[in-house]
Amino acid sequence: MGQTITEKIFAAHRRDTPTPGNMILDLDVIMCHEITTPIAIMDLVEKGMDRVCDPSKIKAVIDHVTPAKDSKTATQAKIMRDWAARHQIKDFFDIGRNGVCHALFPEKGFIRPGYTVIMGDSHTCTHGAFGAFAAGVGTTDLEVGILKGVCAFRTPQSLKVELKGSLRQGVVAKDIILAIIRELTVNGATDMVIEFGGPVVEAMNMASRMTLCNMAVEAGATSGVCLPDETTARYLWPFIQDDYPTLEAAVSDFAKWHSDPDAEYARTLTLDVSELLPQVTFGYRPDNVKAITELAGSRIDQVYIGSCTNGRIEDIREAAAILDGRMVAPGVRGILTPATPAIYSQALEEGLIKIFMDSGFCVLNPTCGACLGMSSGVLAEGEVCASTTNRNFNGRMGKGGMVHLMSPASAAAAAVTGVITDPRELLS
């Protein structure tokens, strides 16, 4: 019987099978940020186990609250900084070079097809876009990963999402993943990996694939994954050109991870995207999703464009196309947070930052900030935000605040009109 990509990666990294159905995997990359790692570090220090398995496997960043907003966040950052120095962790990103982990680490070429990756962060699934097995874990898993380079998983089943058809103008990967989550519900993919495939995914760039995989966890999935192909190889080429004689050689090597035609799936969901409209969430669960036309006209107070879901250059371009020559509606606060310094520079170079600023947006440094309601755009009680992030939980962006998740173009359209708006109305 054939194997899925996930089964192949598990087989290639198997350290142990303590009981049937549970595997201990060797890890290729252990990623760390300053919210979930400091407690792991403190605990290891306390237990006399302050060691790292292999500093070159560890990638660390201060991204959630940066620059620090108070003494507590300054302390978290300092614990990370001191730890990275103590263990000679070369790939450590601090102010000036830091950005949202799930945008920054792919940009640095750290994630490769067939890799196993963990991080103390639920959106680690983003990196499955590269054909890796990448899963969010808690602090204890992270601790063991740092110390021993292993992590335990129940062998996940795979759920295949096959995307066909062609997208209408103004409809993007974010709209697709919101529609998928509505279909699967918030726990429809628990203990499964969502494998995204079909012609729509094959035609997508890496940014869109990352947006898809980013929100797999919102359906309860262990991770999301896309099969690595020429698009993957081109993105990674600057980092792998010494490993392969040609791009074609890389592409054919990557194909060894592809799911076999007779691989088994727990479920297959086929979606024709041709009729799909821009989507938006309502309420406090990410599977509460409607076509944006059904919610059009609802009032917003703030617009947030950024995060590991949609803070990439492609997203900023899509939003800028709407904002160009227009102003943010009176009474609305617009916030743009490019996800990494490289994205920020690129946006400057392309004149996009100017478009945002001219429209009345505030442009922040790369950080998670308001996405999780910790800094840089927290909502007041009763306020509503049109956001390109990935979670609309009650209070996520600030106690008593409400978040509507949507695409960058939809968020930009809301900024201009002050109400939820179908972005296609503003596209020329």
Binding site: I24, I39, K72, G138, K148
Partner: protein, 176 residues
């Protein structure tokens, strides 16, 4: 081995997420103890008000809820917030994967029950205390002055080993 369970608190809602269990504004804490006053501080229940500091909550040693408990953020702070409030047993129909793993990684119990068994627990009146027999994979829920209800559950064998080892760090340290 550790003793699991004790006085129970019942929260009749699906999909309680980790932002509700411990809001992000407390993620700047670097000790587990500091999370203690904030357990379930942002819990939102449609038809009733929830008081995270009620006497029932203060006494609780176990928590009974519905499906997909602990969804959302991977923050183990959600498990620690339970732990530092002496809750080491959560019973539900299902759990989000990361939360469930975090519970077992800390050597404490996330027990999945069949919907009918869970309904039977929710139907109990008055104060209820829940005891666990890990070897028999059985729980006994006893309402004050009422008839006890027994339910069996199945633990993933590896998760059981983690609980017996006192968590994943000590298991991994012994084995890898």
């Amino acid at each position: 081995m550790k003793h699991f369970g004790g006085p129970a608190v019942f929260i009749d809602r699906d999909d309680i997420n980790t932002d509700e269990i411990i809001p992000a504004r407390y993620l700047t804490e670097i000790t587990k103890k500091a999370l203690q006053p904030h357990l379930l501080e942002d819990l939102h229940l449609e038809d009733q008000t929830f008081d995270p500091h009620s006497p029932q909550m203060e006494q609780a040693r176990s928590l009974v809820t519905r499906s997909n408990f602990g969804c959302g953020s991977s923050r183990e702070h959600a498990v620690w917030a339970l732990e530092v409030n002496d809750i080491n047993l959560v019973i539900g129909q299902s759990f989000a994967r990361i939360f469930r793993q975090n519970m077992f990684n800390c050597g404490i119990l996330a027990v999945e029950l069949a919907p009918a068994d869970l309904d039977a627990l929710f139907a109990l009146e008055g104060e209820v205390s829940i005891e666990v027999d890990l070897g028999q994979e059985r729980i006994t829920a006893t309402p004050a002055g009422g008839q006890a209800v027994n339910c069996s559950f199945t633990l993933n064998p590896f998760d059981k080993q983690l609980v017996e080892a006192g968590g994943w760090l000590s298991y991994a340290d012994q084995n890898y």
